[in-house]
Amino acid sequence: MLFFILRRLGTMLLTMVCLTLVVFFLVNLEPNLKKLAISQTEMHTSAEQLEQWLVRHGYRQNFFVRYGQWLGVVKKAPLINPDTGKAEQRFSFCNDPTEPVYSGVLQGDFGCSTKFKTTAAKRLFPALGATGILMFWVLVVMIPISLLIGILAGMREGSRTDRTLSVASIATTATPEYVSGVIFTVIFASWLGWLNGSAASASQGITFYNFTLPVMTLAIYGIGYIARMTRASMVEVMTQQYIRTARLKGLSFSSVVIKHALRNALIAPFTVIMLQFPWLLTGVVIVEVMFRYQGFGYILVEAAGNNDIDLLLGCSLASVFIVLITQLISDVGYAYLNPRIRVQ
């Protein structure tokens, strides 16, 4: 088991290095660097001045050297100003070192955000925290509802409850966040006026009024999927021999479901919930943009829109990390919950 986890962690690290390298390559494409230089300099600068800006801020150094610097395995050297001959900071707003030091992601330095004029870490971690709160409430709403729907539907396969709930869950999986968000806003904010169509004020304090719509929108897409998986797993368990035995020895239907079926039926949904995280990440971006909530999705869009290289790299690292760690947890958890695999 330990060996399995170690090997998975190794693959995970390799994946992260490969992915950040790909992202690094893509954000450093010539047109993207041009875009960055244009947005960072004054209006109407000539091509030479743009080039000069890129050179002066170190964007013309060797690709792998810069990747190494970002990672923290190559020393980050200050740039020598050709006019004065002195070493100077790359970006004054985030205290870049003036002496060569190892200062990359491995040392906890996520670089400079050119868009927000501060260190990337100062923007990234509060945003992740804000998104964490959103995610927490989404999971609190999503998991009990979807499990309940799945169990009720899968308890008696083919019954009317099953048919109705199955069609309802299919309908929610057909409703992406940007569709359900619009529909909910129209119904609950524009027509009924019960809820706020914007979560911008949620950064100061979360209330039922400003936070329900984002949570509801994010949860609804996942509910259908998890419910269907739970249903399938429940249906399979209900046809097992030991359930029939339990029924035949005279136990009531409800106690069979609760005591015998439930535990085994919940193994598969656990995996599915964990694997929902990559989906949720995309949903978070849509929902945060739609409801103007300043979290991870918001800074990702801002960083990508302005080609804010370090912040975008930080965002990719964070999201890839979340995806991979949830995959690992799902695998380990599955092995732990399922005795057939655990014994092997």
Binding site: T15, L26, I170, Y178, V186, V301
Partner: protein
């Protein structure tokens, strides 16, 4: 401002009347399907359950809407009639006396016509991109599952790499105006679009290599048609100017194929690993068939059930992806009538007007719902066998 309106009843009848080619085509197809239900195999079995019928009707509805879009839509989707800015549903256009059935949007375009034309974009790109993703996934997934070992390790690692990317980040990196100046989208298009050609060449070669009369015709056809489309799509140099795709459409097309082929790969790989242990595969191996013959003519046909279901779901998922692209304003032109772009435009103004937001959202939702219902009923049918 507009002074004349038709009432809600007028709007409903107006919409029903405008869709007349769709109703006609639907009636013909459904009547034919019910009559010959027994002879239509899997498609005929769909008509055994209400879920299947609903799925077929919704999908066909949007298919025919896309085909007859120019007849159904009363206005040009890009035409701006200034008086109709933010007009409410049912407003009558003063000059032509035609009705803006679902009202006008903030740029004074007819919401109804845009919804109808939007179906064209979605129904061309989503199935085509899914088709290419299927080809890539099958061509790589079969050997990975069949041979295992190093090929499997490498290909699975690559697939997991792409799957570990949150889709939205992938799109923000791959679908930008800047990337069109680099050779990356064209390189990727060149790589992905060659897979169907390889697939069909190998398919025909393994089957007919001892029957040159058939083989050369089929191979020739594949190479000519495939090569023609390839040249048209990747280099935009179709000598006859029939096959053509805009650079930004090529870009989103490639990004969507890239995002969804690892999923197909994983499914095909899993199915292959399962099926290769069956007796008929062992029989084929004993007969001395080549590995590619076994993969393409023994394993693939037996994996078709789950693959068809997955393809249905995947077209729906691709539609959602396209909507996401439109919602973030990536790739598609800002005035494009596709549903995602329309939802983006309308959702920014929900505080003032809501009517432009509803038609595209409901259109997108119903189309994906139709595909999901279809997939669900196909799955039930395949479980029955």
């Amino acid at each position: 401002m507009v002074s004349e309106f038709v009432g809600p009843l007028g709007v409903i009848t107006g919409v029903l009347v405008r869709f007349w080619p769709v109703w006609l085509a639907l009636a013909l197809v459904l009547a034919a399907s019910f009559t010959y239900k027994k002879r239509l195999g899997l498609y005929g079995q769909l008509f055994d359950s209400y879920v299947g019928i609903a799925g077929v009707i919704i999908c066909l509805f949007w298919l025919f809407t896309a085909i007859f879009a120019s007849t159904i839509a009363p206005f040009n989707p890009l035409q701006q009639l200034v008086v109709m800015k933010d007009a409410l549903p049912g407003a009558i256009e003063p000059e032509t006396h035609k009705v803006f059935l679902f009202g006008g949007d903030k740029l004074a375009r007819d919401v109804f016509s845009r919804m109808v034309y939007g179906s064209q974009i979605v129904l061309i790109i989503a199935p085509a991109a899914t088709g290419f993703a299927l080809m890539v996934g099958i061509t790589l997934g079969l050997p990975a599952g069949y041979y295992g070992g190093k090929i499997d390790t490498v290909l699975s690692f690559l697939a997991n790499l792409v799957l570990a990317f949150p889709v939205i980040l992938l799109f923000y990196l791959l679908v930008t105006p800047g990337i069109m100046d680099t050779p990356i989208p064209y390189g990727m298009a060149g790589l992905f679009f060659i897979f169907p050609i390889i697939f069909f060449c190998v398919l025909f070669w393994t089957r007919y290599k001892n029957r040159p009369d058939r083989l050369y015709i089929l191979l020739g056809l594949t190479l000519v048609i495939g090569g023609w489309i390839y040249v048209g799509l990747v280099f935009d140099k179709d000598p006859l100017r029939i096959v053509h795709i805009d650079p930004n459409q090529l870009n989103i097309f490639v990004a969507v194929v890239f995002a969804s082929s690892p999923g197909v790969f994983r499914i095909v790989r899993g199915l292959t690993m399962d099926i290769k242990t069956r007796d008929y595969v062992a029989a084929a191996q004993t007969r001395g068939e080549t590995p590619w013959y076994i993969m393409l003519w023994e394993i693939l046909p037996n994996a078709r059930g789950p693959l068809i279901v997955d393809t249905c779901l995947r077209i729906g998922y691709t539609t959602i992806l396209l909507g996401t692209l439109g919602y973030f304003g990536l790739g598609l032109a800002p005035e494009s009538p596709d549903w995602g772009t329309a939802i983006k435009d309308a959702s920014r103004l929900l505080r003032q007007t809501i009517h432009p937001a509803l038609p595209p959202t409901i259109a997108l939702m119903s189309f994906v719902l139709g595909l999901n219902l279809l997939a669900d009923s196909l799955r039930e049918q395949s479980l029955k066998d």
